[in-house]
């Protein structure tokens, strides 16, 4: 093939705007409007790559997204490198450098900070969405606009140079999903943006995606110089490029008539038209040392009736271009995404949308609907047998899928292996799994399989079409959801202080919470031990703003809480607080927290940080769907209030200093009560509750004052050396007291009884989940129960998640029966040793017994203990016990 630029012509290029790019070290010139493929052809570059497995030279095969051969690695003008793009769709004006690919692409190894390409995403609701701006698509759009001048009609086409008014060009539909949802991708939608993913919700969708030409399969049909016939005409007409000098046309339909005329007009000598409908066939090709097409072998039915028979050589014709047309496949992928069904239409020998089904929202028009113009009477020629004896090996160069190097021989093997479903054939042969999605190979494969199996093509069908229609980069799919915007980040009002004071953060859901506050030279463990010691010996403070908070109002709140908590709340006095445990109907622990009675008809509920939204949903579900008669209104006030926990024997002094008008004496403000309080001059609430076993308060003020409250507590506590602590110290302090954390000690399979919290489960009333606790399974004596665990070596902190086995377990015989696992594990300043919480089968019966914890490199011995390891008599919650 000796391509060249014609002296004039080319409707899609601007000869006044020359462009150039580097292709494998050679400067390739072209014009604005060229694709990389048209520029390569214009420069006589005919071998553009080598095939993926067989390493055979390949050339440009098509002029569109169906390209299976000319896949290139592109460095865009922005500097970004992208692999495996069809050269037939890459505009020259956007590229700096193009490399061909030996089969597969490679992602650019990105240095940190160099991956700067900006991709984004955008939503666009519209009334009518027309995909494809050909004649049919433009007509559909125009009709829609006429019918409803107020309607937003979005007409898109993947071709950056598509004709027509009001066309969104360079925008490719990727898929159609439920309820008019369409995704599309657009290159360079804005100056700073490489690509945009569109989320389009359309009232009505018109598919006008046209049809794609397909080849006829014959021996050595993959040489550079073999091209789809329509593509050759496109190169001449649109790009002013003559793809070859001596052409043979191999066809089974009338669409090649126009191609012949176009090529002749461009000065290509069309030396033969091999029309399969007359019985003429191409049985093979010849090539030069580089593999390029030099000639064609033909058997003719007319004049030489014995041609092609054994021992008789076929006729040979010299040519550098072989143009093939085996018919046209309507582009039905998008239709099929929307669960539209297909039927085989003998009239055009292709699968067409079966429009009988209920698809009110989606229409398909024009060639995509099977109205392929100029086809004439198509002949049913799909494949030409090898010239010699039709052994298996004789089919080994009949390439069906050029992109996957799959041949008729591969197909025969698949069918021979008993794979009769076209879905299985696809997966066995990989036909149709390349980046072109089998656009040129899919239907041909079905037809060949049908012939081999002796069935109808329509009965064989085609493999399921799935989005996306064209490859999309991960960067494009991620859009702006990366780096700092990867996921919403939630912070508390005190966050600036935490940051300024060196907090190490951990993610709790979307929240950033201080994990610990290391001082100079401190390790994590050092910091946590210091923070815990401060809470147990003096005073410490924690940002507890993230706790979920729900305001409950109405005369029936007490009765409602009795149903949602396992324990009783209707009896709670105004001014008091109570710990509550919540189950789902299955009886498993769902959440816990302290709920306070603000007034007869008003409660303030707290939830765990991670469950705040889920608990509100749960309350609304029962209120709205089961108990609409209850007069209760629930409102999230999580972020109305900033919360600082002040913890430790000196916490009363700190709160007294902050709220001079508040009587903090134990008599006036006892454990498990709350008071309105003017805190550092601002009205808020003080709760005397504790998650550490120490004397402790939680101070609430409106969120605006959160940072100032934090700073005020810090200042008021300075004389006592008040110590900010993070979530890790909080976890240690509560674990020393055996308090479970929902989601750490529990996993949706744990009942209150398993946690040893039967004391919080009322036997006098019904509540959500109560019946489940009576189920046989909930009563099993070997259920896993929460216990303490003390490693024999007090320096060993067991990894959380460690499995526990019996002391006499034979670790060589797998599976080793498991007794349970470690749920929490820490070093403890207060205990002067390591400890853990664990869920162990029949654990409470095993207190005092030894278990084994097999680690990767050793087996650790530990003794089961009560889950409350520190201050089991609760002597510290009113302050330092008097001796």
């Amino acid at each position: 093939m000796t391509g060249s630029r014609l002296p004039d012509g080319g409707t899609g290029i601007d000869r006044g705007d020359p462009r150039a790019f580097d292709f494998e070290g050679t400067v390739v010139s072209g014009f604005a409007g060229d694709t990389v493929a048209s520029a390569l052809l214009a420069n006589g570059i005919d071998v553009v790559g080598r095939s993926i497995y067989h390493d055979r030279p390949r050339g440009v095969f098509s002029a569109g997204p169906e390209e299976p051969n000319a896949l290139v690695q592109v460095r865009w003008a922005s500097g970004i490198s992208e692999p495996m793009l069809p050269a037939t769709t890459v505009p020259v004006e956007d590229v700096l450098e193009v490399r061909n690919l030996a089969g597969r692409g490679r992602l650019e190894p990105a240095e940190p900070g160099t991956d700067t390409g900006r991709f984004d995403a955008r939503y666009a609701p519209c009334e009518v969405r027309v995909i494809g701006a050909g004649v049919s698509g433009r007509r559909a759009a125009s009709n829609a606009r006429t019918a409803d001048p107020g309607a937003r009609v979005l007409l898109i086409d993947s071709d950056p140079a598509a004709a027509g008014d009001e066309v969104r060009r360079g925008m490719t539909a990727l898929g159609i999903y439920d309820h008019g949802y369409v995704t599309a991708v657009e290159r360079c939608p804005a100056p700073a943006t490489e690509g945009r993913l569109w989320h389009i919700r359309a009232g009505r969708i018109v598919i006008a995606t046209g049809a794609t030409e397909r080849p006829i399969i014959f021996a050595d049909d993959d040489r550079p110089g073999v091209m789809l016939a329509g593509a050759a005409a496109t190169y001449v007409e649109r790009y002013g490029v003559r793809p070859g000098e001596r052409a043979v046309i191999f066809t089974n339909n009338d669409t090649t008539d126009a191609v012949t005329a176009t090529l002749r007009g461009a000065g290509t000598e069309v030396v033969a038209i091999v029309d399969a409908r007359r019985g003429d066939l191409i049985v093979g090709t010849m090539g030069d040392d580089a593999g390029r097409l030099t000639g064609i072998r033909i058997t003719r039915a007319h004049g030489r009736p014995d041609a092609g028979a054994d021992g008789d050589d076929p006729e040979t014709i010299e040519a550098d271009l072989l143009l093939v047309s085996g018919g046209w496949n309507p582009n039905v992928a998008l239709w099929a995404h929307a669960r539209g069904t297909l039927r085989f239409d003998e009239r055009i020998a292709a699968f067409v949308p079966d429009r009988a089904g209920p698809h009110g929202r989606i229409e398909v028009v024009g060639a995509a609907a099977g109205e392929v113009e100029g086809l004439g009477d198509i002949g049913p020629t799909w494949v030409v047998p090898p010239p010699g004896p039709a052994t298996d090996a004789a089919w080994s160069t009949h390439y069906v899928d050029l992109g996957r190097d799959s041949t008729v021989q591969d197909l025969q093997r698949a069918l021979g292996a008993g794979l009769e479903s076209i879905e299985h054939v696809k997966r066995y042969t990989t036909i149709g799994t390349g980046i072109d999605q089998g656009r040129t190979s899919g239907v041909v494969t079905s037809a060949i399989a049908a012939a081999i199996l002796g069935q109808d093509v329509g009965a064989i069908g085609v493999p399921t079409f799935r989005p996306p229609t064209v490859p999309v980069s991960f960067a494009q799919l991620a859009a702006r959801n990366r780096g700092a915007l990867a996921d919403p980040i939630r912070v508390t009002p005190s966050h600036p202080w935490h940051e300024a004071n060196g907090a190490v953060f951990e993610d709790v859901g979307q929240w950033k919470r201080p994990h610990h506050f290391p001082q100079a030279g401190e390790s994590v463990d050092d910091a946590v031990l210091r923070e815990c010691r401060a809470a147990r010996t003096s005073v410490a403070m924690m940002d507890a703003t993230t706790l979920g908070k729900i305001d409950l109002q109405g005369p029936d709140v007490g009765a409602f809480l009795d149903r949602v908590y396992t324990n009783t709340f209707s009896s709670l006095k105004v001014g008091s607080c109570r710990y509550g445990l919540m189950c789902r109907a299955d009886g498993m622990v769902f959440d816990d927290g302290v709920t306070s009675r603000l007034a007869d008809d008003r409660f303030h509920m707290t939830t765990t940080t991670g469950n705040a939204a889920a608990v509100l949903d749960h309350l609304e579900e029962w209120l709205q769907t089961e108990w609409p008669d209850l007069r209760v209104h629930a409102t999230s006030v999580t972020e109305q209030w900033a919360t600082v926990a002040v913890v430790g024997p000196r916490s009363r002094d700190v709160v007294a200093a902050l709220a001079p008008s508040l009587d903090v004496s134990d008599a006036a403000f006892p454990f498990m009560t709350w008071r309105d309080a003017v805190i550092a001059g601002t009205l808020g609430r003080a709760f005397r509750i504790s998650f550490s076993g120490e004397l402790a308060y939680e101070l609430n003020v409106p969120t605006w004052h959160g940072l100032a409250l934090w700073e005020a507590v810090l200042a008021a506590g300075a004389t006592f050396g008040i110590t900010p602590y993070g979530t890790q110290a909080m976890h240690v302090l509560r674990a020393e007291k055996g308090y479970p954390i929902i989601g750490q000690e529990t996993d949706g399979t744990v009942t209150p009884q398993d946690l040893g919290m039967a004391w919080a489960v009322s036997t006098k009333k019904d509540f959500i989940g109560r019946r489940s606790h009576r189920r046989l399974d909930a009563q099993r004596p070997d259920r896993k129960q929460l216990v303490g665990l003390l490693p024999t070596d007090p320096r060993i902190v067991l990894p959380e998640g460690t499995q526990l086995v019996a002391p006499d377990a034979d670790l060589r015989v797998t599976p080793v029966p498991m007794l349970g696992h470690v749920t929490s594990s820490y070093d403890s300043a207060a205990l002067g040793r390591s400890f853990a919480l664990a869920l162990v089968k029949g654990g409470r019966e095993r207190i005092g017994q030894t278990v084994l914890a097999p680690l990767i490199d050793r087996v650790v011995e530990a003794v089961i203990a009560d889950s409350v390891l520190f201050d089991p008599e609760n002597r510290r919650r009113d302050g330092e016990p008097q001796p």
Binding site: Y123, A124, R480, L485, T635, T638, A680, W704
Partner: protein, 197 residues
């Protein structure tokens, strides 16, 4: 908002919201906007008229609409069939809460101060609608969405209430967002503006 006592700091105090001086998009915080949550039975006509009297506006019963008091100081947003959010000028929370509570009288319902529970971000200018469309799936264009409407939805995956306030050709939106998300959302809004063409 108190004159004495702990200093009030709005969630976006000190945040960088400016894009550039030539921008066709304005992003700024409207700090300390008063918001009071109201729950009431819309079928309780005496209650609804008491509420209308104290608010100077009838709480709207059409979904996703708003009403504005005669003196223009309060806007009532529909949040649910028996739920509204009353917006007011900074500093008026206590007065608003107590007059709503008195209107509620003995009827079942709820009044709760939510002023600090969300902050407001104003996004305005000819490109405002387009910039929100980078992260919001609902139809933001009039007539589906214009002054007098509101929507609770997701913007850049954050829960928000969007209240359009400007005319169609000069759109402006108030975005009510939880303070914990405000910094993230402001970063997202400033970033989205880069993608405007």
């Amino acid at each position: 908002m108190t004159d004495s006592g702990l200093r009030a700091r709005s969630p976006l105090e000190g945040a960088t919201l400016a894009i550039d001086s030539t921008s066709t998009l304005g992003i700024r915080e409207l700090p300390f906007l008063v918001q009071v949550g109201l729950r009431a039975d819309p079928a309780d006509e005496p209650l609804m008229s008491r509420l209308t009297t104290v608010l100077g506006a009838r709480p709207p019963t059409d979904p996703n609409t708003t009403s504005i008091s005669e003196d223009g100081t309060n806007q009532v947003l529909w949040l649910g069939p028996d739920e509204w959010l009353v917006l007011g000028e900074p500093g008026t929370a206590g007065a608003l809460e107590s007059k709503l509570r008195s209107a509620l009288d003995a009827a079942a319902g709820a009044v709760v101060d939510l002023s600090a529970n969300r902050t407001a971000i104003s996004v305005s200018g000819p490109r405002a609608r387009e910039s929100l469309a980078f992260g919001c799936a609902i139809d933001l264009e009039p007539p589906a969405f214009g002054p007098g409407r509101c929507a609770q939805t997701l913007l850049a995956r954050a829960n928000v209430i969007i209240v359009p306030v400007g005319p169609a050709d000069e759109p402006a939106f108030r975005i009510l967002v939880r303070p914990s998300f405000a910094g993230y959302l402001a970063t997202w809004l400033v970033d989205a503006a880069v993608g405007l063409d």
